[in-house]
């Protein structure tokens, strides 16, 4: 199991990479910065599980909160609206 390197409140950025294979980090959030809302736990890596491999070691999975106006340049809702996304640790860097 990989150790959790972030905690709630930390600012993080989602890596801006577009690899092949099965990835559960949505394209719209790559390159964006947000705040760790909680550590959900550690889970098998879906990228590896999709390829019939074990998905070990388990990776920390976080819920990350993003301000909508920082995700979508043309966002027309309210200032404080957010989107919260589950992202695996290996897709996150300190912001």
């Amino acid at each position: 199991m990989v150790e959790a390197s972030f905690k709630p409140g930390d600012r993080v950025r989602v890596r801006k990479a577009y690899p092949l294979g099965h990835v559960r980090t949505p394209c719209y959030i790559r390159g964006r910065s947000g705040v760790i809302e909680r550590l959900c736990g550690t889970f098998g890596n879906p990228e590896e599980l999709a390829q019939q491999r074990s998905g070990e070691p388990k990776q920390p999975l976080y819920r990350v909160r993003f301000l909508q106006r920082e995700v979508w340049p043309d966002y027309r809702g309210r200032e404080g609206d957010v989107v919260e996304v589950e992202i695996f640790q290996h897709w996150l860097e300190p912001a």
């Binding site: 294979g21 099965h22 394209c27 719209y28 879906p46 599980l49 999709a50 390829q51 998905g55």
Partner: protein, 96 residues
């Protein structure tokens, strides 16, 4: 798919057909839930649906995509072979 331009959300629902429920049941059992022997992961299900390409969303219904993906996974895993499937589909088709 998040954030791509798209149309109005039509609040459609349908009463699921028996074969669709059976596909759901197959996935539940094959992924090791409800006492099934774990033979695949939901990640493989998703990966094989993604491999169908975006046109699959126009050509195929939800459970059609699922049954295709599950069957593909069983072939990839060697649980069945393509020939097994071909012979069985011919046999079932002949039953009418």
């Amino acid at each position: 798919m998040g954030g791509l331009p798209a149309g109005r959300v039509e609040p459609t629902e349908h009463d699921y057909e028996e074969w669709e429920r059976r596909v759901d049941a197959l996935m539940t059992l094959l992924s090791g839930v409800r006492g099934g022997k774990k033979l695949m992961t939901v990640d493989e299900l998703r990966k094989n649906i993604e491999a169908l390409g975006p046109e699959a969303y126009d050509r195929m219904s939800y459970y059609e995509r699922w049954i295709t993906s599950i069957t593909q996974t069983m072939i990839q895993r060697g649980v069945i072979t393509t020939d097994d499937l071909a012979r069985k589909m011919e046999e079932v088709g002949r039953r009418g």
